[in-house]
């Protein structure tokens, strides 16, 4: 088991991480702590976000994800610890910070009778250097809804308007909280493409989500939060490879194969049989090695299926391990 310290230090990680780490840091969170009554929402959290990356904050419901981004956007005052955004303190430099950070809030709605264009122009008037609202509507694909009232919009259109409001002020950082919740699969994919375009314009994106496919597709790095703590921080690919349970390969051989031929291959951890099917589990470049070994013996493999661990597997494993550790700590007390 790899401990949290190793993950958060990011030392000796693949090159992707090194590349991100070398970039300028625009958000620094240092020993952040926030309590509501008796509930510890954020528990001694530290991380930093590089300019131009899509940084994911993932975790179960109630893990403290929203509170974390609320501290970054200055909507909440931390109990202790510091947050800096472009060297500004979110609570002291309220106005300056809000010019740099665009926020799309979870569960925040607009007055039902406001028109799309009115909302955008209102928000444009709040910023010193806003983008042109028509261009933004065009790129979000809701230009034809310019004169529609908020209550007439579909869920996807409301969400895109909400993103538009977060981007109208030409922010350097966009904080997007649960942005595809309640969207149909088409609208989700369109939203993802949009986020990638935003990043391509050089905007740093902080994405709060509980959809692992979303985080896997979009994020350069993800922080996995549980009970207000960061329990893993890495690229989605590295997390999936390390914690996602490796690779499982299934095939039907043309003639019986001696298990030993397969278990000696590098990376293979187990070989099972299910009827005529052979199931090989392991890690790394397992598929090529198995197929090559079979080929050398003159055995054909049919119906080959390969499943590699994904971020969701890693998520489940890491949160469960964390829960178990917590239980043991409680028991031993």
């Amino acid at each position: 088991m790899i401990s949290t310290e190793n993950l958060t230090k990011k030392s000796g990680e693949p090159n992707e991480i090194a590349e991100v780490t070398n970039r300028k840091r625009v958000v620094n969170v240092d020993h952040l702590h926030k309590v509501y009554g008796k509930i510890v929402a954020v528990d001694d959290v530290s991380f930093s976000i590089a300019e131009g990356e899509i940084f994911g904050i993932i975790g179960p419901n109630g893990a403290g994800k929203t509170t974390m981004v609320e501290c970054i956007s200055g909507l909440r005052v931390p109990d202790s610890g510091t947050v800096t955004v472009y060297n500004l303190n979110p609570n002291d430099d309220r106005e300056e910070l809000r010019k740099l950070v665009g926020v799309q809030l979870q569960e925040s709605s607009l007055p039902p009778r406001i028109k799309v264009v009115e909302a955008l122009e209102l928000f444009a008037s709040f910023y010193p250097d806003p983008v042109v609202s028509n261009d933004l509507l065009e790129s979000l694909g809701i230009a034809q809804k310019r004169n529609a009232r908020f209550k007439q919009l579909s869920g996807g259109q409301k969400q895109r308007l909400s993103i538009a409001l977060a981007l109208i002020g030409n922010p350097k950082i966009a904080i997007l909280d649960e942005l595809t919740t309640g969207l149909d699969p088409d609208a989700r994919r369109e939203t993802w493409t949009l986020i990638e375009r935003v990043r391509d314009r050089g905007v740093t994106v902080i994405l709060v989500t509980h959809y692992m496919d979303e985080a896997e597709r979009l994020c350069d790095r993800v922080a996995l939060i549980n009970h207000g703590k960061v329990i893993a921080l890495d690229t989605p690919a590295a997390l999936a490879a390390r914690e996602g349970g490796g690779v499982r390969m299934q095939f039907v051989p043309s003639e019986p194969v001696n298990d030993k031929v397969l278990t000696v291959l590098p990376g293979v951890t187990s070989v099972e049989h299910r009827g005529s099917r052979v199931i090989v589990a392991g890690s790394g470049d397992l598929t090529t090695r198995v197929l090559y070994a079979l080929l050398k013996m003159g055995v054909n493999a049919s119906d080959v299926q390969v499943k590699s661990g994904n971020l969701e597997d890693a998520f489940v494993k890491l949160t469960q391990t964390d829960e178990n550790t917590r239980k043991q700590e409680v028991d031993s007390k």
Binding site: S73, K99, L105, S109, E121
Partner: protein
């Protein structure tokens, strides 16, 4: 857009406020309950009361016609409807749906949104007062020799008192439903003590005393004197000022943005 970029100073100070007023004003017109009660009702009552012949008769014990007795009562009625419904309901709604919070993520403070709501309702009240005064003097023969400074002072004080009551309701009501219920609970007592059912002069003595110490009763009394050409006595003015301070204090103390 380019014009905006050039004068950033104007932009910074006043532009967001005017844009907020423009948008909230349009929303008020699209959802006109507030305007109907704040503007439509008093005008309607002015015309009805003005058209009843019996209302021209002098009220016993005073030098005034029944119609003249009702003019200050109608003015205060306008403010009661705005204070109980027109002002708090949109504020509570904007908070309930997260619009206030949404605004607070921008460089503009959500207090500007509140200020815009207050400004819109001042405009509605102002138009109502203008119609009631001008209408009653020019069309229904009310004596126009008001004591102007006392009249204006009374209007300002009662407006502050009832608007701060409105913000107070918005501060403590957790939802639009509760806000409406609080408004309805206060509506009939306030209308009663303003004298809309029976002018205060005809109430038994102890009810008159209670009325004098409500913001609405004090306001009607002060408006009455100034419309008859004498500066109002100090007690009703102090009563209104005390309520204004008291309501504002609690409203500011308990206001929540989310």
């Amino acid at each position: 857009m380019s014009a905006q970029a050039h004068d950033t100073k104007v932009h910074k100070s006043s532009k967001p406020f005017w844009e907020l007023m423009k948008v909230e004003g349009k929303l008020a017109i699209r959802e006109p309950a507030g305007i109907i009660f704040g503007l439509g009702l008093p005008v309607f009552l002015l015309i009805i009361f003005g058209s009843i012949p019996a209302f021209r008769n002098t009220v016993p014990g005073t030098a005034l016609s029944a119609f003249e007795v009702y003019i200050p009562i109608l003015m205060v009625t306008v403010l009661i409807f705005i204070g109980l419904f027109g002002l708090p309901i949109p504020i509570v709604r904007d908070r309930e749906i997260g619009w206030l919070r949404r605004i607070s993520t921008t460089p503009v403070s959500p207090t500007k949104l509140l200020a815009a709501q207050v400004a819109i309702n001042i405009i509605i009240a102002g138009i109502s007062f203008a119609i009631l005064t001008v209408g009653s003097v020019f069309f229904f023969g009310v004596n126009g020799s008001f004591e102007i400074p006392g009249f204006v002072l009374s209007i300002v004080l009662v407006t502050i008192a009832l608007f701060s009551l409105g913000v107070l309701i918005a501060a403590i009501a957790p939802s639009q439903g509760v806000s409406t219920a609080m408004g309805q609970g206060l509506l009939y007592p306030l209308l009663f003590f303003a004298g809309i059912y029976v002018p205060v002069q005809f109430l038994p003595g102890y009810l008159q005393t209670i009325s004098d110490f409500t913001p609405v009763g004090a306001a009607v009394q002060a408006l009455d004197s100034s419309m008859q050409g004498t500066f109002p006595s100090i007690v009703p003015l102090l009563v209104m000022a005390a309520y204004a301070v008291f309501f504002s204090f609690i409203a500011i103390r308990y206001f929540r943005w989310e």
